[in-house]
């Protein structure tokens, strides 16, 4: 006797296939997701806002359409969540900040509009660190261990997918905010090349570093959603293997805890067994300055966006946010420009690595999710790729003390589909993680 998985436990691609074949309806999918949210939200706190009635009403319409064989797109009837820094029509945008007016009306961001056009049903807004920046973390907990952070700043997006509330959620990454919660919650994540997904309708942290990203159950789901919401197609030709993999030990493995190192070494060994060739990739000397370059670019861009807020609503901002904005406002402009120049050199020199390799691999984070909610964890292994705008994905690669670890895969600019294909390859040899409940 075979058991049919409940709709909430299906990946987006499996759910879309079942809806298309009429073995599941959008109403069943949304109802199952809402029941799962009811079951777990009191403990996980993944959501800033859920619009049950509208989601169920949309699901009924999409159910009728599917019954007639009329599918809007590849995500027809699939429930999704969106980080609460994207505007979504008829939903509040609060960004975990008391400075935002929850009654303000917005139209759909480009991402929300693209999801709807593909047939997705937006259930609500997922919790975020205050303005997705260096402010106050949300109350979101890690479904693998509620005493630990779910990561951030896309905390709710990671936890909602990790807890099987929705198969897909949208996040953002300026440093490590999309791939880190994906890794901490035992699921897949993708940060595309800078500019591949539109930032229209997104509250910015730092214009030249912000990337909308995808968090999903599987790497296949990442490709499905990226195809649906990317504003452009990469020019770089798709590679599908045999993979030439560069393992980056410098900095990335050197900073990581031993269980993470062992997990990545095992993952690379399995990929070699799967037909990949693996050699060590060496970073250019300027890489040593990448954290400083990132800081000097993000700081003035962030403070410029929040300057009016600080002047008019300081009493409604958290002390952590106020202190960041006040400090960052003091950076001399010459240092910002010099950091932008240094970024060009770093990007050009890192891109040379891809003459030898299709993909670079390394840990996603140096340790599993830390205990407590004050910190959303270490983004140091992720921010270099946000800085240069290279596409990066994460897939689960093991557990440490019962908490998930991630393997990060990075490609050259514009090679997004190649990175996603490599992530599918890695996932096929590493397998998926099963939630402990």
């Amino acid at each position: 006797m075979t058991t049919v998985a409940p709709a909430y436990d299906l990946s987006a691609s499996d759910l879309a296939t079942r809806i298309a074949s009429r073995t599941c309806t959008p109403t069943e999918a949304v109802s199952s997701a809402l029941l799962r949210i009811d079951e777990l939200e009191d403990r996980v706190h993944a959501w800033a806002f859920v619009d049950r009635e509208t989601a169920l009403a949309q699901a009924e319409v999409l159910t009728s359409e599917a019954a007639n064989g009329d599918l809007r797109g590849p995500l027809h009837g699939v429930p999704v969540g969106i980080k609460d820094v994207f505007h979504v029509q008829a939903m509040p945008t609060v960004a975990n900040s008391k400075t935002m007016d929850p009654s303000a009306a917005y139209g759909d961001s480009a991402v929300a509009a693209a999801l709807r056009a593909a047939g997705a049903i937006i259930l609500g807004k997922c919790e975020t660190v205050e303005f997705a920046g260096m402010g106050m973390p949300p109350p979101t907990r890690n479904p693998w261990n509620l005493e630990h952070t779910a990561g951030g700043s896309s905390s709710g997006s990671g936890a909602a997918v990790g807890a099987r509330m929705v198969p897909v959620a949208i996040g953002t990454q300026t440093g490590g905010s999309n791939l880190r919660p994906a890794a901490y919650n035992g699921i897949a994540g993708f940060k595309p090349s800078h500019g591949a997904i539109s930032r229209e309708g997104l509250l910015p942290v730092s214009w030249t570093l912000d990337h909308p990203g995808i968090i999903a159950r599987t790497a296949v789901d990442l490709s499905l959603v990226f195809d649906a919401i990317a504003r452009a197609r990469p020019v770089s030709p798709l590679r599908t293997g045999p993979w030439r993999i560069g393992l980056v030990r410098e900095f990335f493995l050197e900073r990581s805890e031993q269980p993470v190192v062992e997990s990545v070494e095992r993952a690379v060994s399995l990929m070699r067994d799967g037909g990949a060739t693996v050699a060590e990739a060496h970073l250019p000397p300027i890489f040593a300055a990448q954290q400083a370059i990132h800081r000097l670019i993000m700081s003035p861009e962030m403070v410029t966006y929040h300057a009016t807020r600080l002047a008019e609503q300081e009493d409604r901002m958290t002390p952590r946010h106020v202190q960041s904005v006040k400090a960052f406002s003091l950076l001399p402009v010459t240092y910002y420009i010099q950091a932008l120049r240094a970024r060009r050199i770093l990007k050009e020199q890192l891109a040379l690595l891809f003459d030898q390799f299709d993909i670079l691999v390394m840990p996603t984070t140096p340790a599993p999710a830390p205990k407590g909610l004050d910190s959303t964890g270490d983004a140091s292994l992720l921010s270099p790729w946000s800085l240069v705008g290279f596409p990066a994905a994460t897939v689960p690669c093991g557990l440490s003390n019962g908490l998930p670890l991630g393997l990060q895969l990075v490609g050259k600019p514009g090679s997004d589909t190649t990175v996603l294909a490599a992530a599918e390859f890695a996932e096929s040899v590493l397998g998926l993680l099963d939630l402990p409940f």
């Binding site: 197609r233 990469p234 300055a289 370059i293 202190q323 960052f328 010099q338 240094a342």
Partner: protein, 70 residues
């Protein structure tokens, strides 16, 4: 504040601390010392880089080079 000759992290911190007092007042300045140290260290690292004269700033994506609009 000069870019070259490169500043030490301590010189950058002294500059930022003085600026903080002038801009936000002594009380607020004392609350952001940790943030200022972090920025000062980054200034020292970036200020010490040897960047060729012809290098232009990289502001962000260059969709025309990497992407075909759909």
């Amino acid at each position: 504040m000069r870019l070259k000759p490169a500043l030490s992290a301590e010189e950058a911190f002294q500059f930022l601390s003085a600026s903080a007092v002038l801009t936000w007042g002594a009380a607020a300045a004392s609350e952001i010392t940790t943030n200022l140290r972090s920025i000062a260290e980054a200034m020292a690292v970036v200020g010490a880089l040897d960047i060729p004269d012809e290098t232009e700033p990289l502001f962000g994506e260059d969709p025309a080079r990497m992407w075909e609009a759909t």
